[in-house]
Assembly symmetry: C2
Homo-oligomer: 186 residues x 2
DNA sequence: GTCTATACTATGATAGAC
DNA sequence: GTCTATCATAGTATAGAC
């Protein structure tokens, strides 16, 4: 029932992450998902915007759970956060730098144009920050934890962009290393 | 002679920064620049890609000089870098969050598609990192300065994205504050 | 009632005619 | 040096098949 709809969202998640929002056409999403062209407006009456909105929601939830999972494993927040950056760099390298951040392109391309998508990105970033802040509160007060979490998410997004541009994970690893040091030293 | 060509590049810089790469059409660039419709291929035989490439070059040089100028004024590297983030936040807020990073959209949208533009972005980011690293070498050895510079540029790009998504400069200010602390504490 | 195929309109980049 | 034509493809919408 909802399985074909799901497949469309999955394809949208994937293609938007790899190619960007505007570069990803609706027919390409339909094609990759195996759904025939034109059935989009049955599943997504609001068109590309509605689909992208759901794709952002799904992608960002997945990342949020990964953040929580990985940083929980570190003996302390600093190590956990470093691990997350390392894991991310492995994933991006393994895809030959095709993968990036699942939100980034939408946040960049739709930030000043589309209120709904901007809002979806804002919420997603807020959840990620909260995931980091939750662990950081072991060591810091609320305000400082929030401030550090904001830096972490910013560095995350930026380092992915730099690493893809360089086709080299060095920026991601440098960010992880420096953030670990910052968090450890207080 | 070259003044109309220049105007086209300026418009491209502006529109790409505000709207993104794919969202910016050639005719819109021509229109804003006042150049006659269709005259793009006279000035830029390589089309949109060639124009974008020059726009990236120009924008990134401008930012590089701003980086060098602002961080030179701080009494120490930490303060200079913090100032740069504050200045950036003021500029973005003043534009009602329309402005962003001039490279970001191209780096995100063309990273996995267009080799030439990817390369142009890579070079630009390298120059920015070098600008920060130059000042950081007052205080750190080469390797550490490079590592910190990578984090700074990553945080810069990411914090702009977050701030635009939130329509709030808090992420930029948090990043500046935390980076200042990191650099100061060693 | 659920889903699919085809058609429509607008606009993109581009290139050749003036 | 400039403008108009071309061609592809985007997103959208609807009418009909199952």
């Amino acid at each position: 029932m909802t399985t074909k709809r799901d497949a469309i969202i999955d394809s949208a998640c994937h293609l938007i992450e790899v190619q960007g929002y505007h570069a990803t056409g609706i027919n390409q999403i339909l094609e990759e998902s195996g759904a025939p062209k034109g059935s989009l407006y049955y599943y997504f009456p609001e068109g590309k915007e509605g689909l992208a909105s759901e794709a952002i929601e799904r992608s960002s939830r997945l990342i949020e759970s990964r953040i929580r999972e990985v940083i929980a494993h570190g003996v302390d927040p600093a190590e956990g956060i470093r691990s997350f950056f390392v894991l991310l760099s492995e994933r991006i390298e393994a895809s030959d730098f095709r993968h990036g951040g699942p939100l980034t392109s939408v946040a960049v391309e739709a930030a000043s144009t589309n209120e709904r998508l901007r809002s979806a990105c804002r919420n997603a970033y807020a959840r990620w920050q909260e995931a980091f802040a939750d662990r950081l509160r072991e060591q810091y007060d609320d305000e400082r934890a929030a401030s550090l979490a904001a830096l972490i998410v910013s560095a995350l997004e930026g380092a992915i962009i730099l690493s893809r541009s360089e086709r080299n994970v060095a920026p991601l690893l440098a960010a992880g290393r420096e953030l670990e040091r910052l968090i450890r030293s207080g």
